[in-house]
Amino acid sequence: MQTEEAIIHKLAEKFSILKDKLYVQRSKRIISEFLTREEFEQVLPYLRDKMGFYRASHVVGTDEGEDLGFIYLLTNDEGIILALKEKAPKSDPKISSLSGDYPSLEFHERELVSLFGAEVEGLPAGPSYPLPDGWPEGNYPLRKEWNPEYFDQNTMTYNPPIDDKEKEGGKK
């Protein structure tokens, strides 16, 4: 059985980019700082294949201002959750789909597309989830700038005041 500290030590030894970027939040919880897409994709296969984090419980989308955040909750057989974070700029929100290696992430990745406007490359074709049919394109409700008060449910249109429109709130 590996302790949380031993896992961090081993990862930091293997990947210099992870030095000081992982911490034990509490027992059974390891949380990382945000990594770039390249860094994330470098670390993930090792975590999955060599460190026993072969299960994925979830991916949480977050709004990080100019960027979108993606927090992958990976678990091992000891029940330790390692929250590995990746971020991508809102102007080019591309990430790779992990649903090939972690089929348990497919619906959650569809959520990232619908609710945050992420572009998940390699996500298999399938129905959008969870927004309804006819949801207007370019509206991503979980981005901070998207205000539900401006959304008209009857016409399914987003009508921000002129000032907000100029800021292109919530739209690509």
Binding site: Q25, S57, H58, V60, T62, E78, F107, P141
Partner: protein, 408 residues
């Protein structure tokens, strides 16, 4: 069979096997399922966005309404996450009460499932037995929290209601009566050949696939994997309660039935232990309104499996981000795999066997802001519904009801 002879059937979205919305587009080759598209999301109404504009106390009531069946588990996951962010420990008595209510909730949820599953396979006698027994559990929940669902027990820093001696005795009486019934269901499940014949081999999911597709709760435990958050990552006072993690190796709907029935017996023992060992003392400790900045991943073992709440605070009275990964949301990924190669007739019970909660999946919520709060008794509620239809052009009083036909 030629590909052109294949038939595509949409099962749902109106009530596919359960009284909740989901759509399963099934492609058939004869009677066998060769492809499935799982369509969910019909209940999504923006709960996470709503959390960002409410304070932590308001959110408890919001999250309690994610699900009418496992409401307590969601508030437990949320409250313990916020308590961790605030750096406060709840009184031990409060932790015991959280566990007692959680296990009574598990009894209610598993009995509900047992009834639904029995109904799906045409075993309506068992459906009525299970739901009759569930009534006794709901009566206890109503006595504990004042409501049959959404008991309003949890708050940040502990619980809102105590369990006094008289109520403790009532709970013990209920568990005694229920234990006898559950033992009967156990015997029935293990010896009634028609039940086994109908459920065995249906919705197969190996342990390896259960892990791969991220299954949780009784679904993964019925595939032989002893994954239970109460044991893997104990919260409240589970670390000091002796209990068994129930597993089964049938890896099918029959196994899921056995696991849930045995878990009922285990929950009864946990409740008895807590009633006997709960300490005296306070039930709540003071918690700050502003929660220090940080992030937390809180999880509980809901009746349907692992419930994860991700909470990020920013030092204010409102969180920056709340994300709920309910257990049903995890179990959908394995559904396509479980249905492929099955007969169409087995689809309803296979879907029902994960005990899906579509509201949990989609985290539904309806908020009517700006309306005065009103407590309605039964006659007032009835009148409200009549008026509601009248406003929409339907006068219920004018509908002619045909004379009742007598069959015997």
């Amino acid at each position: 069979m030629s590909e052109y002879n294949r038939v595509v059937i949409p099962i749902g979205p109106q009530h596919p096997s359960l009284k909740e919305p989901g759509c399963f587009t099934v492609t058939l080759d004869g009677e066998k399922i060769v492809d499935v598209v799982v369509g969910i999301g019909y209940n999504h109404r923006g709960l996470e966005k709503a959390c960002e504009s409410r304070n932590y106390i308001q959110i408890i009531y919001l999250l309690e309404r994610i699900c009418g069946i496992c409401s307590h588990t969601h508030t437990t996951a949320f409250c313990q996450g916020v308590e961790e962010l605030a750096g406060i420990s709840i009184p031990r008595r409060a932790a015991y009460i959280r566990v007692i209510v959680a296990e009574i909730e598990r009894l209610h949820s598993h009995l509900l499932w047992l009834g639904v599953a029995a109904h799906e396979i045409g075993f309506d006698t068992m459906f009525m037995y299970a739901w009759r027994d569930r009534e006794a559990v709901l009566d206890i929940l109503a006595a504990v929290g004042g409501n049959r669902v959404n008991y309003g027990i949890n708050t940040i820093g502990g619980v809102r209601r105590d369990i006094d001696d008289s109520l403790r005795q009532d709970i013990l009486k209920m568990t005694d009566a229920l234990q006898e019934q559950v033992k009967y269901y156990q015997e029935l499940a293990l010896t009634e050949t028609t039940l086994a014949a109908r459920l065995a081999g249906i919705g197969k999911l190996s342990g390896e696939d259960a892990l791969k597709y991220g299954a949780v709760g009784p679904v993964i435990r019925a595939s032989g994997i002893d994954f239970d958050i109460r044991a893997v990552d104990p919260y409240a006072v589970y670390a000091e309660i002796p209990f068994k993690v129930i597993t089964d190796t049938h890896a099918d709907v029959f196994g899921r039935t056995v696991v849930r029935i045995l878990e009922l017996l285990e929950s009864i023992e946990i409740i008895r232990f807590c009633i006997k060992n709960m300490p005296d003392g306070d039930i709540v400790t003071k918690a700050p309104r502003r929660i220090p900045a940080g992030e937390v991943i809180s999880r509980t073992e809901a009746p349907r499996g692992e419930d994860i709440h991700y909470i990020r605070s920013n030092g204010t009275e409102r969180p920056d981000r709340v994300r709920v990964r309910a257990p049903s949301e995890a179990n959908w990924h394995a559904m396509r795999h479980m249905l492929l190669g099955q007969y169409l007739a087995d689809a309803p019970i296979t879907i029902a066997a994960i005990d899906p909660c579509f509201s949990c999946t989609d985290r539904a919520i309806v908020i009517n802001s700006g309306r005065e709060t009103e407590l309605m008794d039964w006659p007032r509620l009835r009148q409200y519904s009549i008026d509601w239809y009248k406003k929409r052009g339907i006068d219920v009083a004018s509908i002619k009801i045909p004379e009742r036909r007598m069959y015997f």
